[in-house]
């Protein structure tokens, strides 16, 4: 899922500036599951902004990243001057495209694609490089989880299974080694992985996907 973290309130207040009527808009998918931008968080933020003197209401839609869910919001959005979106950056941009004339502000920082590893703890898992080779590494993505994105790791900074860059984080290469050892595939690590073709990643420019077979 996409993980987001609520921005500090002072930052949100600075963005709001002279706004008067504010809609706090939650999103019912990823950010609900990671407890940052769902209906409950939208209500809480609306209450907080009311205390700060804004005429505020809150609403939550299933997914802010899909037009069919944000199209019906026209009336609610027309009645305010500003929307604080608690969706990820995709939702904020979808609203901005659709409601061209309104202030749409991000209430979250979109942090990463990851998962809850345990209660109240989320970790990054995927960079979306566009050419998945995670199977070669025993199911641990070194591009995402090694601080240096080494394909021929580990570097000299792996200590007791932890990464020198962030000592509370597992060394991806220790995880790769352990799993491939278990699977009896350590020989996979002996061949040199060639340089990545980053053209499928964000570095090739903004990406798109087309499926002409389902075009209307």
């Amino acid at each position: 899922m996409i993980i987001g973290e609520r921005k500090p309130i002072p930052e949100i207040l600075t963005m709001l500036g002279a706004s008067k009527k504010v809609l706090v808009l939650g999103c019912g998918t990823c950010v609900t599951v990671c407890l940052s931008g769902g209906d409950q968080e939208a209500q809480e933020m609306a209450a907080l902004l009311r205390i700060k003197g804004y005429d505020t209401k809150s609403l939550t839609v299933e997914r802010q990243c899909e037009l069919e869910f944000i199209n019906p919001l026209r009336e609610s959005i027309q009645s305010v001057d500003t929307v604080v979106s608690l969706a990820c950056g995709i939702g904020v941009q979808a609203l901005s495209d659709l409601y061209f004339e309104k202030n749409i502000f991000p209430g979250l920082n979109t942090t990463f694609m990851g998962m809850p590893v345990k209660q109240g703890y989320w970790e990054e898992r995927c960079l979306g490089c566009g050419n998945c080779i995670v199977h070669l590494f025993g199911g641990t993505c070194p591009i995402t989880r090694c601080a240096k994105s080494l394909l021929n790791g580990p570097c000299g900074g792996s200590k007791e299974g932890k990464c020198e860059v962030k000592p509370d984080r597992d060394c991806a290469w220790q995880l790769i080694y352990d799993r491939l050892k278990k699977l009896n595939h350590l020989d996979w690590l002996l061949s040199i992985q060639p340089p990545i073709d980053w053209s499928t990643s964000r570095y090739g420019g903004q990406r798109k996907m087309t499926r002409e077979d389902i075009w209307l």
């Binding site: 240096k148 021929n152 792996s158 200590k159 020198e164 220790q174 080694y177 040199i192 992985q193 340089p195």
Partner: protein
């Protein structure tokens, strides 16, 4: 284009000695020249670090040219942290064209540990891929994309390796990858625990890697027990036995004890089969290198023009 002197020294069977010079955090080239004056005649080549510990310094490339003009052969360190394959290959062409004859390929210290932790890293490729790219540019005359490289390239390629990082049982196998990728010489992480190094060298010999590449054992002279303790706590990939820290703590003159420890380490590793030289990383203490080299019995160094057979 001249063949690497370091390669000639190693090839002729001499026990090689290299040192390290960190470029200045500024424009004063005299800093490098002074360090060269200290080292000339005591080492076969000098590594020039590439923004080591991710702290901005004069570029390795520029510093290498200064060192070479001082009559010392540089080993140009190149890290993949700050440059993509375009910039790395471009600098490689420039370095080869200007006669830099040794290049050490590294991934580099992560920028979050340095003095610009807000910067974006590159890591387009890793150190093993860098070795392979440079080897192919030299031997196959092709860029990473397969296009033709024009001109002569005569460069001695090296890599770093830590015998101490986890998983320990994979370190020698990973060294084999580096050598397969193109590493002709290896400079190791600093050795304080000779026993672990010995076990690693056993595996290296078992894999026959000492015959495919020259292994130079890294050492660091340490000025105090405090500095040693700091390295133990803060520098990953370095293992420091507690008894060594105790020895430094109880010494009446810690500085001279540090020199003593370094010389002992050199003498111990020199006896290990498959070790072809020593790399002395006297960080901010280059002036001590001559004494260490001399007292370790590594003088005189071979001289160009004279017979290099040992």
């Amino acid at each position: 284009m001249a063949m690497s002197w370091l390669k000639q020294v190693l090839h002729s069977g001499h026990f090689a000695v290299t040192a390290e010079v960190g470029p200045p955090k500024g424009t004063d080239t005299q800093v490098i020249k002074k360090k060269c004056d200290m080292l000339r005649g005591y080492v076969d080549a000098v590594n020039i670090t590439d923004n080591q510990t991710a702290i901005v310094r004069m570029s390795s490339f520029a510093s290498c040219l200064i060192v070479r003009n001082q009559g010392i052969e540089p080993v140009m360190q190149m890290v993949t942290r700050d440059r993509n394959r375009i910039a790395l290959q471009s600098d490689f062409l420039g370095a080869c064209g200007l006669g830099i004859s040794n290049i050490l390929c590294l991934s580099g210290d992560h920028q979050s540990l340095g003095n610009h932790p807000q910067s974006k890293n590159v890591y387009d490729i890793d150190s093993i891929q860098l070795l392979q790219i440079f080897k192919n540019m030299r031997d196959q005359k092709i860029f990473q994309n397969g296009e033709e490289v024009k001109g002569e390239i005569n460069v001695f390629l090296g890599a770093g390796e830590s015998p101490y990082a986890d998983p320990l049982e994979f370190r020698a196998l990973r060294l084999a990858k580096k050598i397969a990728a193109g590493a002709e010489f290896i400079q190791t992480q600093a050795i304080f625990d000779v026993d672990i190094f010995n076990r690693w060298m056993e595996e290296v010999r078992h894999l026959g890697l000492h015959k495919k590449s020259y292994i130079l054992a890294g050492v660091i002279p340490v000025k105090s027990a405090k500095a040693l303790q700091y390295m133990k706590n803060e520098v990953p990939g370095v293992v420091i036995p507690d008894k060594l820290i105790r020895r430094m703590e109880t010494a009446t003159d810690q500085k001279s004890e540090g020199i003593e420890v370094c010389i002992e380490t050199i003498q111990k590793v020199a006896k290990i089969e498959g070790v072809s030289g020593v790399h002395i990383m006297a960080i901010a203490w280059e002036s001590i290198v001559p004494e260490i080299v001399q007292r370790s019995g590594l003088l005189p160094r071979p001289v160009k023009g004279e017979s290099t057979s040992s």
